[in-house]
């Protein structure tokens, strides 16, 4: 079974490699980098990118990596924004092959694995820990989160059309696992009669591309997962990205970008469970007259496995980006602004958020040494980033580090980090 699993994975990887990617993502794996009117660096190139980020808005690296760590609950309660504590994670790994025949014929095939997750704890919990509790108060703590993993593959075609740079990128994506927006609610109620009640409950649905029953309930080994690549690929979704850019002024290019989900990917298996806990204490002084009562219990229901189809889409995106070269081509100012909608066709899970980016890119010594300095809010994470690339024509190596945060301010405060590395080989 293990061999079979590995074989399937290998076939999927090879398929993905042959699909390849396009190489406009110089300093990040963000899909819409703009700068369509610039000349390509190589006629042909093969490249890989890896972009990982993790961030929160509560604790910074300097808070926890020091000799004497002090967790000031009251300070945390006061400083934390009303949105509560958020922890976000993103990962994007790509391989691609680009073929740039001319400015009118630029092709790319790519494949990537993309994962993201986010969890949020409402501020009420931190207010209770940091400020206290009064009789008669009801404290409600929500914990929300989501997670998804996709395998993407596609190709792009870029050309010049009446002076406009145009790139069309159809992408076929296969969702591997998806946790829709899940909310767990805990509630603490105190009353003047001496009753204290706490309860929490979370219904968790996990949709997967393969049946996880045997893996979860039996030997916990990947050998027990049985799937075929063809079945997996047949459940994929499809979306279409479109970018267009024009030279509006001698040193200013600007355009639009969008990604329109068209066909949702399908997950055919569902795992459901429920976590629950409760505790109550009625009238502690009642032990004197035997009117006191208390109980506590907690648990997790057994997973229920079912074959249930669930459609998911990659986020819809729309925005404007530009490339401004105020001092010549060695320096590019690249702003972008837009919006994104996760789960655009599922009202219960729909999440809307804005995105922006502002990068300064310097190319020195005949574009051998390249630097990037930027700030962005993409994939629901703020980044302050600095990157460097060494472009030796046949070989280019790119590295970028970012400070991240789930709020703009915490992104300057070591509350999270992102790392991007990439390499291209070509001529």
């Amino acid at each position: 079974m293990k061999m079979k699993f590995c074989k399937n994975l290998f076939v999927l990887s090879v398929f993905s490699c042959f699909a390849s990617s396009f190489a406009f993502a110089d300093f990040s794996a963000f899909d819409f980098q703009g700068d369509l009117l610039s000349k390509p660096k190589r006629y042909f190139e093969i490249g890989v990118d890896a972009d990982v980020s993790a961030a929160n808005n509560l604790l910074s690296l300097t808070d926890v990596l020091k000799k004497n760590v002090e967790i000031d609950l009251t300070q945390i309660s006061n400083d934390l924004s009303d949105s509560g504590f958020t922890l976000a994670f993103n990962d994007n790994e790509k391989v691609f092959v680009n073929l740039n025949i001319s400015n009118n014929y630029r092709f790319s095939i790519f494949s990537s694995v993309e994962a993201s997750s986010s969890i949020n704890v409402s501020k009420e919990l931190f207010k209770m820990l940091g400020n206290g509790l009064n009789v008669g108060e009801t404290k409600t703590v929500d914990v929300t989160g989501y997670a998804d993993v996709y395998v993407n593959t596609g190709f792009s075609f870029q050309t010049l059309f009446h002076g406009y740079g145009v790139r069309i990128t159809p992408t076929y994506f296969v969702p591997l696992a998806y946790v829709p927006k899940t909310k767990a609610t805990g509630r603490l109620v105190t009353a003047s009669d001496g009753s204290i009640r706490a309860e929490a409950e979370a219904d968790v649905d996990i949709y997967t591309a393969v049946d996880m029953h045997d893996f979860m309930e039996e030997d916990k080994s990947f050998d027990s997962i049985n799937f075929s690549v063809s079945d997996l690929l047949s459940n994929g979704g499809f979306d279409l990205s479109l970018e267009i850019e024009n030279n509006w002024y001698y040193n200013l290019n600007a355009g639009l970008y969008t990604r329109i989900p068209i066909v949702g990917g399908t997950l055919n298996y569902k795992m459901h469970t429920r976590f629950w806990a409760y505790a109550y204490e009625d009238n502690p002084l009642g032990f004197l007259d035997e009117s006191e009562d208390h109980d506590t219990d907690h648990g997790k229901d057994d997973f229920v496995y079912s074959e249930e189809s669930y459609k998911v889409h990659r986020p819809l995106k729309f925005g404007l980006n530009a490339t401004y070269t105020p001092f010549g081509k060695w320096l590019k100012v690249m702003p972008a602004v837009g919006f994104a909608i996760r789960n655009p066709y599922t009202s219960a899970d729909r999440i809307f958020y804005m995105e922006y980016a502002l990068d300064l890119r310097m190319s020195l010594v005949k574009r051998i040494f390249n630097f990037n300095l930027g700030t962005a809010y993409q994939n629901q994470t703020f980044q302050q980033r600095f990157g460097f690339s060494l472009n030796l024509r046949a070989l280019e190596i790119i590295a970028q580090a970012s400070m991240c945060g789930t709020t703009f301010l915490t992104s300057f405060n070591h509350n999270g980090y992102a790392a991007f590395v990439g390499a291209r080989i070509g001529f």
Binding site: K66, L73, V135
Partner: protein, 786 residues
């Protein structure tokens, strides 16, 4: 260079920002939590109403535990029906309950008596008629070989007359005798029993040489005999001197015959002989009539004798019978009449009891002064079927004669007053109440500590009253109107030199009522402190019951006499309390005659004469400083000091309140005290019992500076504060305080017996509290060196 300045500045700024503070990065060595917060929690409350803590049902259960079959009933007593008056109880101890009607143990209407006789064994009489004698036949020696010519004898059973006889076991033995034959002569013979038409009934017998004579046996087991039969003789002859003849004489007789069934049997009484007569010589009690009953006249009723056929029997004809009764009820033979033709009965005779007098004397079926005057049955058999029991299995045929009495209406009932109940004049009776004051309080408080009951010695009761409450049915008030009683009641207990006389008198009258104290119970739903209806764990409504104003009037109007010294009795706090009494009913006549209507009413109502000792116990008590709890630490200071109230209530904190396993664990616990600024308990203790109380919250270890000083609990003050400073909290968390088992010390002012207090029905003792925990500090929760 100018054109490079902006991007370079930007790069520098970002790198500086990114690296700012990173130079101080290092692996954590300690982690601490800092907090400045205020937590408020309500601890709820507890209220102890005296009327509920010591409610009548709890007292009742406690006393029932003392003695299972106690007739003591405890009632909540509220004669003014006001909760502002003193809490009172009624202790109702029934010492006598005398049933007057003909119910239960005195029901003469259901009297039955009976006797069984072994059925006559007719087999011997029949067997005597089965013998056969005076028969003979001749056989000739053949010289060589020959057979006996056909030889048979008629075998008729002429007496008794019957149709068939099924034999269970036994043989028919045929004995042949002859003179001496020739030397070599042999006669190998067999006999067979046949009917008159030579159809074989039994046999043939085993072949046997009877040349010199002998016995041939025919097995009759399972064979059916008929009145006319034949015995067939066959034989093979050999040897001898040809022509020499011999004459054989033959006899036939049954051997050990056991009959199974005889059908069509007819035997006269004379043929049956003594077995034709069954004498009924019995005596029996009129069971269940109490000895107070002198006699009862019957208006309507009957007495019957019946005799059923044994299974399978028929054809028994009673030729003569005689039934007569002497003693408790007298019935002449002439008064019996045959009442049924039911073939299931051999006989059924019945006599009317109307006008008869029944007394609780023994009844005889014969004249005790003339033995010849007795009951009997004489019978004969006519075309009868008799099924004999298989005696090998031990079973016997029995004929049962039953007598039964059916009294429908009593004319009147004469009761001997002096014998009513056990109230015989001069007879002392003593009842062990099972009450021991020595253990009463500990049981009420569910605390088995012997020291607890000593606290009872600090309590002196006041104004306890008592009386005898005597009730009897008003149904027969005319009949019982003349009755009064006389005697005395006294109490004794362990350590009492002489019994304490509670009552003594003569010609004390009896109240006339058929109601009982419990019928004055009032009932209402119990309420919780928030006014909602109280329910038990099953969700059923909990009720409280009390005897109110009308009950008080009932006691006042029906009590016979006040008991004296009853308060002294309670204040003696007796152990093993026993009540002795000697009471006698008396009246204008020694007999009381109840009419039939009285008897009927009494029987239906199950009313009885009841005598109870009723005590009214108010919680009007004085406190005397005789004992502290525990007694070893007693101080004669005018206060009853209870070192640990929670221990008294069996709710002692006997494990470390901070849940530490040992004193060494204090380092882990103690560091959390750094984060606590103060702990305050805001409480309200309500006390409306009338008791003057002082209380302290303290460590159970003697205060020596390492623990916190005792803190006074302010009783009666609303929202009083009991505060623990940071230093005190640290002491509580320290190893010196392990195990931390705080207690509440209570002192009750005991001014002495001259100053009793009344504990009212609505008095209660309650506490409600909130706890405030203020934190302002930092506590280390991890250290890499730990």
């Amino acid at each position: 260079m100018k054109k490079f300045s902006l991007p370079v500045l930007g790069v520098f700024t970002l790198v500086f920002t990114a690296c700012n503070g990173l130079s101080d990065l290092g692996m954590p060595e300690t982690i601490s939590v800092k907090q400045k917060a205020s937590y408020e929690l309500s601890l709820g409350g507890s209220s102890c109403k005296i009327s509920e803590k010591f409610d009548s049902s709890k007292l009742q259960n406690t006393l029932d535990d003392e003695k299972e079959d106690s007739t003591l009933t405890v009632y909540d007593y509220n004669p003014t029906e006001s909760d502002e008056d003193v809490q009172q109880y009624i202790l109702n101890y029934q010492i006598e309950g005398i049933q007057l009607g003909l119910t239960a143990d005195s029901d003469i209407s259901a009297i039955e008596f009976g006797t069984s006789f072994e059925a006559p064994d007719f087999s011997s009489e029949i067997s005597t008629n089965l013998a056969l004698t005076g028969l003979s036949f001749t056989a000739v020696e053949p010289g060589t070989t020959s057979t006996l010519p056909e030889t048979s004898f008629t075998f008729d059973i002429t007496s008794p007359t019957f149709d068939t006889m099924l034999i269970r076991s036994g043989t028919l033995d045929v004995v042949a005798a002859t003179d001496t034959p020739s030397y070599s002569y042999m006669m190998l013979a067999q006999v067979t029993l046949t009917d008159a038409s030579y159809n074989v009934i039994a046999g043939p017998s085993e072949p046997k040489n009877i040349a010199y004579g002998g016995t041939l046996s025919i097995d009759l087991a399972g064979k059916t005999l008929v009145p006319n039969m034949k015995i067939l003789v066959t034989a093979d002859l050999t040897g001898g001197n040809a022509g020499t003849s011999h004459t054989f004489t033959v006899e036939a007789a049954p051997n050990n015959i056991k009959f199974d069934t005889i059908k069509g049997l007819t035997m006269t009484a004379s043929e049956l002989g003594e077995k034709a007569t069954i004498n009924i010589v019995e005596d029996f009690d009129l069971a269940g009539i109490n000895k107070a009953l002198k006699s009862a006249t019957i208006n309507d009723g009957s007495l019957s004798f019946s005799c059923l056929y044994p299974d399978g029997w028929s054809g028994i004809v009673v030729e003569e019978e005689k039934f007569l009764l002497y003693g408790g009820v007298a019935v002449a033979d002439s008064e019996f009449e045959e009442k049924t033709d039911d073939p299931a009965y051999i006989l059924y005779e019945e006599a009317s009891l109307a006008g008869k007098t029944v007394s609780p004397a023994k009844v005889y079926t014969y004249n005790t002064e003339d033995a010849t005057e007795k009951s009997y049955i004489k019978f004969r058999l006519e075309d009868a079927t008799i099924v004999f029991a298989d005696t090998t299995t031990g079973s016997k045929d029995t004929i049962t004669i039953k007598g039964s009495c059916d009294i429908k209406e009593i004319g009147n009932l004469v009761v001997d007053v002096s014998e009513l109940g056990q109230l015989s004049g001069g007879e002392d009776k003593e009842i062990d109440t099972g009450i021991s004051f020595g253990s009463l309080l500990s049981k009420l408080l569910d605390n088995e500590d012997e020291e607890v009951s000593k606290l009872m010695d600090n309590i002196e009761f006041s104004d306890i009253s008592g009386c005898l409450l005597m009730t009897y049915p008003t149904i027969c008030s005319d009949s019982l109107s003349g009755i009064s009683f006389a005697g005395s009641v006294s109490a004794s207990y362990d350590g009492a030199a002489t019994p304490l006389e509670l009552l003594s008198g003569t010609n004390m009258t009896m109240a006339r009522t058929d109601t009982v104290l419990s019928s004055y119970l009032q009932k209402e739903e119990k309420k919780n402190s928030d006014g909602t209806v109280k329910t038990d764990k099953n969700g059923d409504v909990v009720y409280k019951e009390w005897i109110g104003k009308s009950g008080a009037e009932f006691i006042e109007n029906t009590k016979s006499a006040d008991l004296s010294h009853i308060t002294d009795l309670f204040n003696a706090r007796p152990d093993n309390l026993k009540i002795a009494y000697s009471l006698a009913l008396s009246g204008s006549t020694s007999d009381v005659t109840l009419t039939g209507d009285d008897v009927k009413a009494l029987t239906e109502s199950t009313s009885a004469i009841s005598i109870s000792i009723v005590m009214v116990l108010p919680l009007k008590v004085a406190f005397v400083d005789n004992f502290d709890y525990p007694s070893a630490s007693r101080l004669d200071d005018g206060f009853i000091t209870i070192e640990n109230v929670m221990k008294l209530a069996d709710k002692e904190i006997d494990e470390d309140l901070l849940k530490r396993d040992n004193a060494d664990e204090d380092n882990k616990i103690n560091k959390y005290s750094d984060i606590i600024k103060s702990v305050a308990l805001v409480y309200s203790i309500e006390n409306s019992t009338g008791l003057a109380l002082t209380a302290y919250f303290e460590d159970d270890k003697v205060f020596n500076g390492t623990n916190f000083a005792p803190k006074e609990l302010k009783i009666g003050e609303s929202n009083a504060t009991l505060e623990f400073t940071k230093e005190e909290i640290k002491k509580i968390f320290s190893s010196e305080s392990y195990p931390f088992t705080p207690r509440v010390k209570l002192a009750i002012k005991a001014p002495g017996s001259s100053d009793p207090i009344k504990i009212t029905r609505d008095s209660d003792f309650g506490i409600s509290a909130k706890v405030f925990v203020n934190t302002d500090g930092s506590a280390e929760i991890w250290n890499k060196n730990d």
